[in-house]
């Protein structure tokens, strides 16, 4: 047994991981989640703004991260839409602009009432320049954003009237997968201009490094798919769909928590078994007298 485990082909482990994720997808587990303080803070930041507040919503991710971030983008946009905020969409990543348009079609126009282009939402689209885009948008937006995503000059868009830069925004929502993203928004926008609050949704990989900005620079954060699932729970409780049931678009995060359970159990088991094998082998090799140098 020990011999088998110590020489186990890693493709067996791959197969186990595949099954751990696939089975709960084919047969969903009905699980429920208690919202954490962080998700509640994010919710409150959007909820306590008076309706019609100005919110800049930035899509800073690509399809590679959308498995984690799309549920957050859906829930955050739906919540902003239910609160009737004015939404200024932009993207620091090029694919983000395309994802943004899809999300607007699927959530804002389909599930929220009273949204009309140019009146209470506008798509500023993607601009090249990484963090430089933030730097210029916070002092003189129109230098770089000559037109919206559809080629309409900003002067012709009613809701852009009087918006020279991002400083009049009440809230920044950044759904981000890396650089440029939440960290750059914190450094270049909400720290020099603290009047704007910030809510962010981030991938598991970068969420830990953002904790340091909470709560003075970032008001609420959704970290990894768990954050998304919790946020969905809170939003669904307050703003259910027309039939009183949660909307299907707002259950993606919760659905993806099913595979987490099995896969995390597998991970824990793998680490444990791997270490048991390691220590037993070490014991055996000590007994037989040739200790390996690598083991320390």
């Amino acid at each position: 047994m020990l011999q088998y485990l110590s020489t186990l082909d890693r493709r067996v482990v791959f197969l186990l991981m595949g099954l751990a994720v696939a089975i709960p997808i084919l047969f969903p587990l009905p699980l429920s989640y208690k919202p954490s303080v962080l998700a509640q803070q994010a919710f409150d930041a959007i909820e306590t703004l008076p309706p019609g507040s100005n919110v800049v919503f930035s899509f800073d991710y690509d399809p590679a991260a959308s498995g984690e971030l799309q549920p957050m983008a859906n829930a955050l946009m739906y919540h902003c839409g239910q609160r009737k905020h004015n939404l200024y969409f932009m993207a620091l990543w090029a694919p983000g602009a395309a994802i943004c348009s899809d999300t607007i079609d699927g959530i804002l126009l389909k599930r929220c009432e009273g949204y009309e282009y140019g009146q209470n939402y506008v798509e500023l689209g993607y601009q090249a320049g990484l963090a430089g885009v933030i730097k210029i948008a916070v002092t003189d937006l129109r230098q770089q954003f000559k037109t919206d995503k559809y080629g309409t000059p900003l002067d012709q868009i009613p809701m852009m009237k009087g918006i020279q830069n991002l400083q009049p925004m009440d809230l920044l929502v950044s759904v981000s997968a890396g650089d440029p993203g939440s960290k750059e928004w914190v450094q270049l926008f909400v720290t020099p201009f603290p009047a704007t609050k910030m809510v962010t949704g981030t991938t598991g990989v970068q969420s830990v490094s953002l904790y340091t900005y909470i709560p003075n620079q970032i008001d609420g954060m959704l970290g990894a798919i768990k954050g998304a699932a919790e946020y969905e729970t809170i939003v669904n409780a307050k703003y259910p769909g027309p039939d009183g049931k949660p909307l299907p678009e707002l259950q993606e995060g919760q659905r993806r928590m099913g595979p987490q359970l099995t896969a995390h159990l597998l991970m824990v088991t793998l680490i444990a078994v791997g270490n048991v094998v390691y220590f037993m082998q070490r014991k055996a090799s000590r007994r037989s007298g040739h200790a390996r140098g690598a083991a320390r």
Binding site: F14, V21, P95, Q187, R255
Partner: protein, 370 residues
């Protein structure tokens, strides 16, 4: 024959049989995409001063008229200040994605499904996407030509994606338009004023820098690319110098100024937050100590640094767990695509809610042989 070849062939055969079986047991097959046809018709209209203005004598300017194109069913066409011109309407048919369930409902509905159709293009797309996904996953088995093919494709496609995006989103509106407003208006940005803006000529400098940057492709003139590179690095350094000191240095110290002892709203000692703040501060200071490089790790500093390492490890453990969570989520999204959008194994009703999806799987299994 090598064992691995046998395994690969066996996998392909099993996969093919599975697909065939899947197609047989499912009344509508699988992996199909449907579209809904939408006819778009636009008419040209002549628009005078706004309604409120035109009504009040004396305020309207008869020259304040413009020509716009409106959708043919736009209610604006009813307004007295809007007149259709005699230009012929322009129309085309767009295809809009709809879910298979909606498509089947429309096909069996009163309209007879004249405005919906199976989209060969998008169906092909789903299959291409699925096969490329499998090609990437095949790397798990071993490095192979199929994987290499997918990798070569993505390298080309993503480079082109970024170039095209940079061109249409940034270079056209921020560079070409300010320099050649009239031309750009006539060509790609009809909504703009087309007038030259004061000081726009300065954008000739980024053009020069850009051309210098592209010189890097040449062996002889490559050295000139150092200039724009220096510009880029200098800009980044200038931005980062201020932003890091403000947001990551001072603001972090400011956030750390918290009392170690906390009392709750009623003035009672708050155990949880007090312990938490003490841990936070001790962790912060000990990790900072670990990153002092001019002090030898001896005595108090040594012990603090040792504690700092432990704190680092705990936080790395948490980061590890969150990263794992992220990776698994991405995998589950891919499996959802393969099992849902392609094979239609989950959620054939496209309800996409947790509870109902579960039910529909059960009903699918019980009624599969139908």
């Amino acid at each position: 024959m090598k064992r691995s070849t046998i395994v690969s062939i066996a996998l392909c055969v099993v996969g093919g049989l599975g697909l065939a079986l899947n197609a047989l047991v499912r009344p509508h097959g699988f992996g199909a995409k449907y579209v809904h046809f939408q006819e778009k018709t636009y008419v040209e209209a002549d628009v005078g001063p706004a309604l409120g203005e035109v009504l009040e004598t004396g305020t309207q300017d008869p020259n304040d008229r413009r020509r716009v194109w409106l959708p043919i069913n736009d209610t604006l066409l009813d307004r007295p200040n809007v007149q259709r011109t005699d230009k012929a309407p322009i129309s085309w048919v767009e295809e809009v994605d709809i879910t298979p369930v909606d498509a089947w409902a429309r096909m069996t509905g009163p309209s007879g499904g004249a405005d919906v159709s199976l989209s060969l293009r998008n169906t092909l797309g789903v299959w291409v996407a699925a096969l490329f996904s499998l090609a990437v996953l095949s790397f798990l088995w071993r490095d192979n030509p199929v994987y290499k093919f997918a990798e070569s494709v993505i390298v080309g496609v993503s480079a082109a994606y970024w170039v095209v995006n940079a061109f249409w989103s940034t270079l056209v509106p921020s560079l070409l338009y300010p320099l050649f407003p009239g031309l750009t208006k006539a060509w790609a940005l009809p909504g703009t004023s087309g007038e030259y803006e004061e000081g726009a000529w300065t954008r000739i400098f980024p053009v020069i820098l850009g051309v210098m940057l592209l010189m890097r492709l040449s062996r002889q003139a490559g050295w000139i690319a150092v200039w724009p590179l220096a510009f880029v690095i200098g800009t980044t350094a200038g931005i980062k110098l201020v932003s890091h000191v403000q947001a990551d240095f001072l603001a972090q110290i400011s956030s750390s100024v918290e009392s170690l002892i906390k009392f709750d709203d009623r003035g009672a000692f708050d155990w949880g937050r007090s312990v938490g703040n003490i841990v936070l501060t001790v962790g912060l200071l000990s990790v900072l100590t670990y990153f002092f490089f001019s002090l030898e790790h001896k005595g108090v500093v040594g012990r603090a640094a040792r504690l700092g390492v432990w704190f680092l490890m705990v936080s790395f453990g948490a980061a590890f767990a969150f990263t794992v969570m992220g990776r698994i989520t991405l995998l589950s999204e891919r499996f959802e695509f393969l099992f849902g959008d392609w094979l239609w194994l989950i959620d054939p009703k496209y309800v996409r809610t947790v509870a109902e999806a579960g039910q529909s799987v059960v009903s699918m299994i019980t009624s599969a042989p139908r």
